[in-house]
């Protein structure tokens, strides 16, 4: 829609601006402050310049957490996106099945994140959890508390359980917007099931898929609560992702300088990703 130029609109935006400035800009400035200073306790601060940033960028701990997080995000995307598309394609389009599917599939999305963690912590335990107990009874040596591999599997399955529905619902929203005429034309042309998917359904889902990929990447990149509840970052450091490491450093060890430098680097990466998200959205709107 054509928008009129009106700078008075600023007054309508002002409350949002003030509120978000209070809850975002001031804290961020504090972080910036800490990232360039050093303190030996008390209220004495010394200029440290880029020291903390250099330290962070050369720290194995940071890159290890970053690496783990990137691998985690890659696995999550590789599982959730195809699985989500597959399930969306098989969902009913009409009748009583639609609301039932939507409601039941959306349920995990609305569960508090720490309860998601608790659910899986219990579910995977070999003494009282259905999953752990069953796997053990079947002879698998499954124990997410001691075995890093099992911990990873648990965290990934948990995330698939928690978030695949989002991909399903987004893809489904894209699919139902395809008019019947497209399918009729395909049928008349004798298109195969694959051709229908490749040339009708996939292009129509392109936009929602982009949103799904970006959202899933962002959220998995800043995952904290669920793995923290299940594994606490362990065993060892094997499931210590960026957010968990950051909180450990800032609140646990009170290493303000390095933690602040890490926050800034982390935030810049997220900023870049947000920019990609925003550009994709606006370009899509303009193109069409």
């Amino acid at each position: 829609m054509e928008k009129t130029w009106n700078n008075k609109a600023w007054f309508m935006v002002l409350p949002v601006l003030v509120l978000v400035a209070f809850s975002a800009v001031i804290p961020l400035m504090t972080v910036v402050n800490y990232s360039v200073q050093d303190t030996f306790g008390g209220n004495q601060f010394f200029w440290a310049g880029a020291e903390w940033f250099e330290e962070m960028l050369h720290s194995d701990r940071f890159w290890a957490a970053m690496g783990r997080n990137l691998i985690f995000s890659a696995i999550i995307l590789a599982i959730q996106i195809p699985l989500g598309i597959f399930i969306a394609l098989n969902m009913p389009r009409k009748g009583w099945g639609v609301p039932v599917c939507l409601v039941l599939m959306a349920l995990p999305l609305l569960i508090p994140w720490n309860v998601v963690g608790t659910i899986w912590q219990v579910f995977g335990r070999i003494d009282i959890g259905l999953l752990g107990y069953t796997l053990h009874a079947l002879g698998f040596d499954y124990n997410y508390v001691n075995d890093p591999f099992d911990a990873w599997v648990t965290v990934i399955v948990m995330d698939v359980w928690h978030w695949t529905s989002l991909v399903v619902l987004l893809c489904y929203a894209g699919l139902v917007s395809i008019p019947d005429a497209f399918y009729q034309a395909a049928k008349i042309d004798g298109a195969s099931r694959w051709a229908v998917f490749r040339y009708i359904q996939l292009p129509k889902m392109q936009r929602v898929l982009l949103i799904a990929v970006l959202l899933r990447f962002m959220d998995s990149f800043m995952i904290y609560t669920e793995p923290f509840v299940v594994t606490g970052g362990g065993p060892g450091n094997s499931t210590t992702f960026l957010s968990i490491d950051l909180v450990k450093m800032a609140v646990g060890q009170f290493d303000l300088g390095p933690a602040a430098a890490m926050s800034i680097i982390y935030f810049l990466i997220v900023l870049l990703l947000s920019w990609v998200f925003y550009t994709v959205m606006t370009n899509y709107d303009v193109e069409k």
Binding site: N6, A9, M12, W113, V115, L130, L170, P179, Y278
Partner: protein, 311 residues
């Protein structure tokens, strides 16, 4: 927004196409075409086994939740002693503990207080802003809109420590308003984006007609515009509620005792006699209930809400 206009145009085109198809069908041969159309309509369910995939997926989703509910009706001895797929001696003791012990049920009250505060604040400030973004161009509007998004995407871990210091400086630690304000970090941008999406779907002619009819802006906004986007406000409020309800890290950092949310209380169920699994499970089940209660009303908007109103 251009996207909405596009969607409208698409819908028009769709309708035209649909009309074209049906009219040719009538001209040529009615009956076989109808059969074809019916077959086509069942495209997703072509085989009789279309329900297998959704059913398997839903079973996968429901099993862990069922297990939690199952555990919440068992006594601790039964949880730890025998392995059973359903409670052998169903008990309500776990729920009884939560509803009688203030340190438990206060957690729910605290959570609900700050979540409601946050929802009200977020929607109240987001409404005018979303209207401005959907109707006007102004200096720096795109940058502002983008900046809001970055806050929605910002990792809470980055903000945990500075929030603690900021609210300490104001003496707000362990108050409900502190958590409510802190959650505005991601909920205000969310509300603005969702509401903007809904508002852009309302044609601008409605505003113009109202002004010509002599409505003042506030009166138009409250009497005409808000009812028009009532579903949008409902969806935005629901998502503000939800995202504040599920957040733990910031809420836990900013509270110690008086405003401690249920999510944080759940993390300390370790008592002298070991973990109180039954109570933990019951507390978990109770936190799922708000989402489960309203899910039916928002089922068609869930994708929209998570995609910030862009679907």
């Amino acid at each position: 927004m251009a996207g909405t206009r596009q969607a409208v145009a698409d819908a028009d085109k769709d309708k035209m196409m649909r009309d074209a198809v049906t009219s040719t069908g009538v001209v040529h041969s009615g009956a076989p075409d109808e059969a074809l159309a019916r077959r086509m309509r069942r495209r997703g369910e072509e085989s009789r086994f279309w329900w297998v995939v959704p059913t398997l997926y839903i079973i996968f989703l429901m099993l862990p939740i069922y297990w939690l509910i199952n555990m919440s009706f068992k006594s601790n001895q039964e949880i730890l002693g025998t392995f059973s797929l359903w409670p052998q001696n169903p008990t309500l003791r776990n729920y009884g503990v939560i509803f009688t012990d203030p340190s438990w049920y206060k957690g729910y009250i605290n959570s609900i207080i700050y979540v409601v505060m946050n929802t009200v604040i977020s929607i109240a400030v987001a409404l005018p802003a979303a209207y401005a973004f959907s109707r006007y161009r102004f200096l720096g509007d795109k940058h502002l809109f983008f900046w809001l998004l970055t806050n929605r995407m910002a990792p809470p871990a980055v903000f945990a420590l500075p929030f603690f210091q900021l609210y300490s400086a104001f003496g707000l630690i362990d108050t409900h308003i502190a958590v409510a304000l802190a959650h505005c970090l991601f909920n205000v941008p969310l509300a603005v984006w969702i509401l903007e999406g809904f508002m852009s779907g309302v044609p601008k002619e409605i505003d113009e007609t109202a002004y010509i009819d002599g409505y003042s802006f506030p009166r138009f906004f409250v009497k005409i515009f808000v009812p028009l986007i009532a579903s949008g406000i409902g969806v935005a409020a629901f998502f503000c509620f939800m995202f504040s309800w599920v957040e733990l890290l910031i809420a836990r950092t900013l509270t110690t005792t008086d405003a401690k949310p249920i999510a944080a209380i759940m993390t300390r169920t370790v008592s002298a006699s070991g973990m109180d699994w039954g109570v933990l499970a019951a507390a978990g089940v109770l936190t799922i209930i708000p989402g489960a209660l309203v899910i039916w009303f928002v089922r068609n908007y869930i994708a929209k809400g998570f995609a910030l109103g862009r679907v």
